[in-house]
């Protein structure tokens, strides 16, 4: 730089450097800027030299961090100076001070273009650098062709070509249209033939960008890339200056491999083989050495190669080689390398079935969990979490539990959560799960969120076999001198519910259990006291015949807390006290908690939320994705056009209860069975949450319970009333009458979907019976009560639907003769002790056997005239029609497959429709319909129906009438009520009744 000649500039810089503090510096700068403004203002006295000097000063001031918002004109004007020193400063300052959005740059475009197309290479380089740094859309539009020309011209020096490639990359990023895809695939492959590695590296950067945009067009370049890699890997023809610590141009290698990852696969076996050879060489040839720079370079290549191997889904052998290599890495002392090894292993887990091979390194990974570096510990934890499956869950979870004791506090919560999730997911048996969680609470009580112990309670409640074991465990933990409050909560809850199952063991009599729990009462916080009170009530209930001493003790406690300052405790004490005076009725009221409906574990969701690590491919996320995809597969079996009903999400709605009396009974049941239900909002964090997460439907709505009547006892029964559909069945049925797939029925436990295909007079329905819970449904029965005109064959329905499973039941339908009657499905099942029975209408209705036809006037009128009189042609004036426009009516008819032929009727207020009906008796039969509306009174119309069969004509007329009159109305013809059994030909009594 020709600074030596500019004394003013060096003096200024040294003055700035001599400033004692920032303030002095600012004063000096402001003074200088004022001076420069003054000089720039009188254009006349300004020589080129002065201009150059002041522009340099401006740049220096700008680099110091001050705003320079003038003088750009001068800088830009220097670009067009003929000499190099001025041009250089012009380009330099312009590219520093301006960005692509400045209007000033437009002024420069032409000058820059002249330099690019000029012959002077240095000027070309300057111009290309400027465009490469600040080129925007304008530049892209006007300069791209020239830059491309430079890039492919054969006469250019490599220096210019390099810059041209990078410049084009910038322009392409700003405006992808500048590179014409068709023309460029050939040129690109030519460019990749380049021998000069510098030009090749620049071109490869451009290429990576191009293929990331559209890889289709560049298939022809793929072998070239492999060739480049081969050349580098074999170290052929690589000049010394492109070798970095003995590695031939690591940058080019990485870029090439990156480019290859944009192609989905490599079809050509030769290329594939060649590539794998190269990768093999990279994998084999990488070692950990002393020199940091060499390590960095070789690892950059290696990890890119690993990514490529994963992308290409290579053979298992190669994969195992990769894992072995990574295994070597995680055993190295150098923490960076270990980190990379662990992270890449986690990545590999996502791709292929290398889990088995990775498991071999489990011991090493577990050692990494004790690494002094926290980021390595986190990676190791992620990896362990991701690689866990049923076979190694026990070991891993045990390790995690052990590690929990020594882990630092920031990690403990995540660790506890992950251990809990793994234990839940991969538990070989449930007692082990309970063991693990209790141990977890014992070791890291502070870090165990409520969700975790709620989950245990839920599991134990839903699995009877587990209950005595869990109670026993809880009892054992209570023997410890100091236990965590969370443990206290779990133990109290479990013992309250199930301690009677232990009664025969030594030291487990109600009295002993009571005393050991009560010992801890003074040490616990208020929310836990509420749980303890419930426990006492339960213990009291289980000690039959009542032990007067125990009873008195517990009563004393209740009456003590009747005056507690905490409203929740007070209410519980008062209510339990009152309830416990009820004697034998207590048994019913305080019966065991009912099973919880199954939900997706809230823990996993929480794990996602708490996932603090932002590593792009964290194990949890990848897992969540996998799960999401599983969920999609499950729901795919549902008809496609139904609203998404992902059962695991478990948005169980509170059933709307319309029967007041029922409601009362329900609530009694609820209240008595779910004693935990009466939770004040302020205490919601304990049991409110338990219920909010796991609460059985019907438990909510307890706020009305505080009335005195709520304590009165009602006979307990009709539990099935508690199970209400969560959707409007009638509406679903109506939907399904015009659609072929959707949800027919849904309650908290079961979802029934339906999918139908109709061909002529035959149809095939598939019922999807889905169990939403995690326990199986028993005594499943599905019986079809067919009407006389339909022949229905339901394949056998299994007695038991396993947890979270979906059963498909195909159903064959044959339409014998036209009728409006509806088939009914009697579906019943048992959940726990609850028997649920539902009668559902099947959407195999008349219009399902229509086949739409469109008739022209020539076809229609002869038919219409030939069916001249009743019973083949019936006419009726229908009143009380739902008000709708002609368009709506047309849509309605079309949706019923009665195709309206517009313009057939000369009167615009009339509609003419036609369809073909199929049944076994009539075969295909053309039906014609004419509706004459009265524009003055939309509630009445005249309906004329004609067909070749008198029954069909009548049934069709009635059917259309129903649709027109009553679609949104609540009252439907009694024939359609599912509870009234339709006349069945197989039931002579019913037949008789129907005749009478």
């Amino acid at each position: 730089m020709a600074l030596s000649g500019m004394r003013g500039l060096s003096v200024f810089i040294s003055e700035i450097r001599n400033c004692q503090n920032k303030e002095q510096e600012r004063l000096r700068v402001d003074k200088e800027l004022g001076h420069i403004r003054n000089r720039f203002k009188n254009e006349k006295g300004l020589t080129v030299y002065d201009k150059k000097k002041y522009v340099w000063k401006m740049l220096y001031i700008f680099m110091l961090g001050y705003d320079v918002d003038f003088g750009h004109m001068e800088a830009v004007s220097l670009i067009s100076a003929p000499k190099y020193p001025e041009k250089q400063v012009g380009y330099l300052v312009t590219s520093c001070l301006l960005n692509e959005n400045h209007d000033f740059l437009r002024l420069a475009i032409n000058t820059v273009r002249n330099d690019i197309i000029g012959r002077n290479e240095t000027f070309q380089c300057l111009a290309l650098t400027l465009v490469g740094n600040i080129g925007g859309r304008d530049f892209a539009e006007s300069l791209a062709p020239d830059v491309q020309k430079l890039l492919i011209s054969s006469s250019c020096r490599p220096l210019v070509k390099k810059k041209a490639a990078l410049c084009l990359l910038r322009l392409f990023r700003k405006n992808p249209d500048v590179v014409n895809v068709d023309g460029w695939s050939d040129r690109m492959s030519q460019l990749l033939d380049e021998r000069n590695l510098g030009v090749l590296t620049s071109s490869m950067s451009l290429f990576v960008s191009l293929v990331s945009n559209n890889h289709e067009a560049y298939w022809s370049c793929l072998p070239k890339c492999v060739k480049v890699l081969e050349r580098l890997a074999r170290n052929q023809d690589v000049p010394q200056e492109y070798t970095y610590y003995g590695i031939p141009s690591p940058w080019l290698q990485v870029k090439t491999m990156r480019a290859l990852q944009y192609f989905p696969t490599i079809e050509d076996p030769n290329t594939r083989r060649a590539l794998f050879e190269v990768l093999q060489r990279v994998l084999m040839g990488t070692d950990v050495v002393k020199n940091v720079n060499k390590n960095n370079a070789s690892h950059a290549v290696l990890f890119e190669a690993l990514a490529l191997v994963m992308h290409l889904d290579a053979e298992k052998e190669m994969m195992s080689q990769c894992v072995a290599l990574l295994g070597k890495f995680i055993a190295v002392r150098e923490p960076n390398i270990r980190y990379l090894g662990l992270e890449n292993m986690t990545r590999m887990l996502m791709v292929t079935d290398v889990q088995e091979i990775i498991k071999r390194h489990q011991a090493q990974i577990i050692t990494s969990l004790k690494d002094p570096d926290i980021s390595i510990r986190r990676r190791a934890l992620d990896l362990l979490y991701a690689m866990c499956d049923i076979s190694n869950a026990k070991d891993i979870v045990e390790e995690l539990l052990q590690y929990l004791g020594t882990a630092e506090f920031t990690m403990r919560e995540e660790l506890a959560l992950k251990a809990a999730i793994l234990a839940e997911k991969f538990a070989p048996d449930l007692s082990w799960y309970v063991d693990v969680i209790l141990q977890l609470i014992d070791k890291a009580g502070d870090f165990v969120s409520d969700d975790i112990w709620f989950r245990v309670v839920q599991f134990v409640t839903n699995n009877e076999d587990l209950q005595p074991y869990a109670a026993l465990k809880a009892r054992e933990y209570l023997d410890k001198p100091a236990i965590h409050e969370t443990m206290m909560k779990v133990s109290a809850y479990l013992l309250g519910e199930y301690s009677h199952l232990l009664a025969r063991r030594p030291g487990c009599s109600p009295k002993e259990i009571f005393s050991i729990i009560h010992e801890k009462l003074p040490t616990v916080s208020t929310p836990t006291i509420s749980i303890l009170l419930s426990t006492y009530a339960k213990i009291l209930m289980h000690s039959q015949p009542p032990d007067p001493e125990l009873q008195n003790q517990i009563w004393a406690i209740f009456s003590k807390y009747e005056t507690s300052i905490d409203a929740e405790i007070q209410q519980r004490a008062v209510e339990y006290f009152a309830l416990s005076k009820k004697g034998a009725a207590l048994m019913d009221i305080l019966a065991e908690m009912p099973k919880f409906p199954e939900r997706e574990s809230s823990l996993i969701k929480k794990a996602e939320d708490t996932e603090a690590d932002t590593a792009e491919l964290s194990a949890i996320k990848s897992r969540a994705q996998q799960q999401a995809s599983n969920a999609l597969v499950v729901t795919d079996q549902h008809p496609a056009n139904e609203p998404p009903q992902v059962t695991q999400l478990g948005m169980v709605k509170i059933p709307s209860i319309n029967n007041l009396e029922n409601n009362h009974v329900d609530q009694e049941v609820t209240q008595t069975n779910g004693i935990m239900g009466e939770v004040e909002p302020q205490n919601g964090d304990i049991l409110g949450d338990l219920l909010a997460i796991e609460g059985p439907p019907g438990v909510s709505g307890t706020e009305t319970l505080t009335e005195e009547g709520a304590l009165a006892l009602a006979p307990v029964g009709e539990l099935e009333n508690a199970v209400k559909p969560v959707i409007d069945i009638a509406e679903r049925f109506r939907d399904l009458c015009v659609k072929d797939s959707g949800v027919l029925y849904e309650d908290p436990y079961v979802q029934i979907g339906i999918k139908a295909e109709w061909r002529g007079h035959q149809g095939r329905l598939v019922l999807f019976l889905g169990n939403k819970t995690t326990s199986s449904l028993d005594s499943v029965h599905a019986v079809i009560l067919p009407p006389s005109h339909l022949k229905l064959e339901l394949s056998s329905v299994p007695e038991i639907i396993p947890p979270r499973a979906q059963v498909q039941c195909p159903l064959e339908v044959v339409n014998l003769c036209p009728s409006r009657d509806v088939a009914v499905l009697d579906f019943s099942y048992k959940f726990g002790t609850t028997l649920v029975d539902n009668k559902l209408r099947l959407p195999a209705v008349l219009n399902k056997f229509f086949h739409p036809v469109t008739l022209s006037a020539e076809e229609f009128f002869p038919q219409w005239r030939s069916l001249a009189a009743p019973p083949l042609k019936l006419q009726e004036v229908v009143r009380g029609v739902r008000v709708m426009s002609l368009g709506e009516m047309t849509n309605l008819l079309n949706s019923l497959k009665l195709i309206v032929s517009p313009g057939l009727d000369p009167n615009a207020n009339n509609l003419v429709a036609s369809t073909t009906f199929y049944s076994e008796s009539t075969q295909s039969m053309l039906c014609l319909v004419r509706i004459e509306t009265d524009p003055a009174d939309r509630t009445q119309l005249r309906l004329t129906v004609a067909s070749g069969d008198s029954t069909l004509t009548f049934e069709l007329k009635e059917f259309i009438k129903e649709q027109l009159v009553s679609i949104p109305a609540a009252s439907r013809p009694p024939v359609l009520q599912p509870t009234i059994q339709p006349i069945s030909s197989s039931d002579p009594g019913a037949l008789l009744a129907g005749l009478l």
């Binding site: 920032k22 000096r28 403004r37 720039f40 003038f70 003088g71 400045h102």
Partner: protein, 438 residues
């Protein structure tokens, strides 16, 4: 609860620690790094004197080229902390005999450590009165050669001093010539709209005294303030003298003033400490006599030219004059060329302050001076934001003039021995923030 400072730091402008003292161990040693990183090296420096970083609050103040930083980790009384800093600086000044700056600190490390030990205990401020501290911290600062050397004192009796009824004055002082100097120093704050209407105006004044009196004299000061005069009229049961009376707000006195007598008789009577002290402070918001009127006209002619005309009129008595008048007329940042004409003084464009700096050394009363300038602007790429037009600022000093109109009516000295005293009274009015919008 007073300040409870955890530490005090003295930094130079670069952020290096000159001297520091930790009073409590609840803050770490790297506090000053936090201050340097988060306050000194950001643009916020000087915008907000209290900043919280982490769990600590930083109270800082710049005095000449030194930053004084108090670090506090608990909830503290900020006003008290700043008062402490101001008082401590005064104390240091009286020890160093003049300036308080980086060099003075570097020259007096030992003394400052000793003083810092004395004036604050476990973060609580202690006695900061220079007169008293000088009794037992007898180290002398390195004085500049011009300040007078204090007379040799008798053997100090610190206990008596601190516990005695008149804690601020020693017994047994004797001067050959008994003199009292009294200065009334006022600073005028003004914000005026461009049309000449007063938006905000007040005067903050203080009375400074310097006493060289023998024995234990009792002094009584009479001002022409409203309360005092009314009370006097009441006592002497005669009508209030016609003439201007001043209403003082927010009066605060030095601890030597006898407040019970002030409350009952509304007279300021006191036994003064020896030497220099600030007797009282006050504020006046009504009836302020503005010393200067400024009439600006600034016209923007297109995007690149401006015409500035400023007329300044002095409205105090014709016999008086203002000294060191500086008028800062703001111009836009992109000013390139200026041509200025003034009727008196000199004016120049100052690029670092973005203003035309017009200096008049001596400005007689009842006169008028004008500035007319043509300003050329350079075009910039920044979006054309209209210029915000900051106010014109003015600095001046007018001796023997009080903006409030406050006058000393009498200053009586009474001592057992009944010697004669000489009383000297001076008035001066300075510009505080004297701003005129344009």
């Amino acid at each position: 609860m007073p300040v409870a400072a955890s530490a005090i730091y003295f930094l130079n402008l670069r952020g290096d620690v000159l001297i520091n003292r930790l009073y409590r161990d609840d803050v770490g040693g790297n506090m000053v790094d936090a201050f340097r990183l988060h306050i000194m090296q950001t643009k916020e420096l000087g915008t907000c004197p209290v900043r919280q970083i982490g769990g600590c609050s930083f109270f800082y103040m710049r005095i000449s080229n030194v930053y004084i930083v108090i670090v506090v980790s608990s909830n503290a009384n900020v006003a008290c902390a700043f008062k402490f800093v101001v008082e401590a600086v005064n104390l240091f000044k009286s020890y160093f005999g003049g300036a308080f700056d980086e060099d003075a600190i570097r020259n007096n490390f030992v003394l400052i450590y000793e003083l810092l030990d004395e004036i604050m205990d476990f973060g609580y401020p202690q006695n900061l009165s220079p007169e008293i501290l000088k009794l037992y911290i007898t180290q002398e600062g390195v004085r500049s050669p011009f300040s007078s050397k204090p007379t040799d004192k008798p053997v100090p009796n610190a206990t008596l001093q601190v516990t005695g009824a008149v804690g601020w004055r020693r017994e047994g002082l004797s001067y050959k010539k008994n003199e009292v100097f009294l200065d009334i120093v006022e600073s005028v704050n003004l914000l005026m709209s461009s049309k000449g209407s007063v938006l905000r105006c007040d005067v903050t004044g203080k009375i400074l005294m310097k006493c060289f009196l023998s024995g234990m004299p009792d002094l009584k000061l009479g001002l022409n303030d409203k309360i005092g005069l009314e009370k006097e009229a009441e006592i002497k049961s005669r009508p209030t003298k016609s003439g201007k009376t001043i209403e003082l707000d927010d009066v605060t006195f030095h601890q030597c003033v006898n407040l019970t007598r002030f409350n009952s008789e509304k007279t300021v009577s006191f036994v003064p400490p020896d030497g220099e002290f600030e007797l009282m402070k006050y504020r006046i918001t009504e009836g302020v006599n503005l010393p200067f009127r400024v009439l600006p006209t600034i016209k923007e002619l297109g995007r690149t030219r401006m015409e500035v005309n400023v007329k300044v009129k002095s409205v105090f008595g014709a016999k008086m004059f203002a000294l060191g008048v500086v008028i800062k007329v703001p111009v836009p940042k992109q000013t390139a060329k200026t041509s200025v004409q003034v009727t008196s003084g000199r004016a120049k464009y100052n690029a670092s302050m973005d203003c035309l700096m017009w200096k008049i050394r001596k400005f007689p009363g009842q006169t008028e001076s004008t500035l007319s300038a043509e300003v050329e602007l350079i075009s910039t790429i920044a979006e054309k934001k209209s210029w915000t037009r900051p106010p014109i600022q003015m600095e001046f000093q007018v001796p023997m003039f009080t903006a409030s109109g406050l006058r000393v009516r009498f200053l009586k000295v009474w001592e057992k021995s009944g010697y004669n005293t000489v009383e000297w009274v001076r008035y001066i009015t300075k510009a505080g923030s004297y701003e005129i919008r344009c």
